[in-house]
Symmetry: C2
Subunit: 126 residues, 2 copies
DNA sequence: AATATCGGTCTCCAATTTAGACCATGTCAT
DNA sequence: ATGACATGGTCTAAATTGGAGACCGATATT
């Protein structure tokens, strides 16, 4: 993202600003995974399954930056780093929950729409 | 996305499947823009402002595919193509609205968190 | 010794996104 | 008649982003 894509009229547009952050491949998924409680880096990595270390590290750093998660380092060997939702992060789970419910309820409709599209529109093309 | 990243245990995981679609740079923004009613391609392009033609076209095609928006072509010259939310698309606006409200309410907290991060954590590094 | 754990970072390569040219067609002003 | 403009895209080349896997330092385990 260019440094100030989210700036409109000299002020950040809240919606754009927030959507730009959580609207990526992984943020929502990480947040959803942390709903289950404090977790270590490698636990997140394994639970999510198909995220790369690099992207998990980046996503967590941005979520930390924006105050959604807190990062705690334990100076042990081997190192231990725990990630946990902040109050802000937890408050975000509520609207997100609504989205997850919606997804559950309407998933079939989406799958059906895809099939219709593949059969009716795709062969002829636009 | 590899063709079947969203397939888990031989069945699509609804949450992953839906989040993978709407969780991209542009889908939520396009949907939010269409909340205002039926719009033509170039109107969307101008209202969103910093999306490229190609990405708008792609995003709209996927939203159409998944049944969120309907596409109507008027065989005029110059061509006219209108995009409008379907019932499914409109039903999605409700949980999304919750997200938008949340963003409005908590935007300041996020901005504050960023400043804290920049001042406290960034200089020392991790 | 070797090997594994842990939380990353780094490099290299593949995939995605962007900017911008281009297209066909018809209307409007010169 | 000629040129500019509008529309809804698509195509290409260049820039950005993402993934796979090597690597690290310190210690415990085999």
């Amino acid at each position: 993202m260019p440094p100030d894509k989210r700036i409109v009229f000299e002020q950040p547009c809240p919606i754009r600003d927030v959507l730009d952050r959580i609207g990526d491949q992984w943020s929502l998924l990480v947040l959803e995974t942390l709903r289950g409680g404090t977790k270590r880096f490698n636990v997140l990595l394994r639970e999510i399954g198909d995220i790369s270390k690099q992207m998990l590290a980046r996503t967590l750093r941005r979520l930390e930056q924006d105050g959604f998660v807190a990062r705690t380092v334990f100076p042990e060997v081997p190192p231990r780093v725990e990630y946990t939702l902040t109050d802000l992060g937890r408050s975000f789970l509520e609207p997100m929950q609504a989205l997850v419910f919606w997804a559950d309820i309407h998933h079939q409709a989406i799958v059906a729409a895809r099939q219709r599209y593949d059969q009716v529109i795709a062969p002829g093309g636009h």
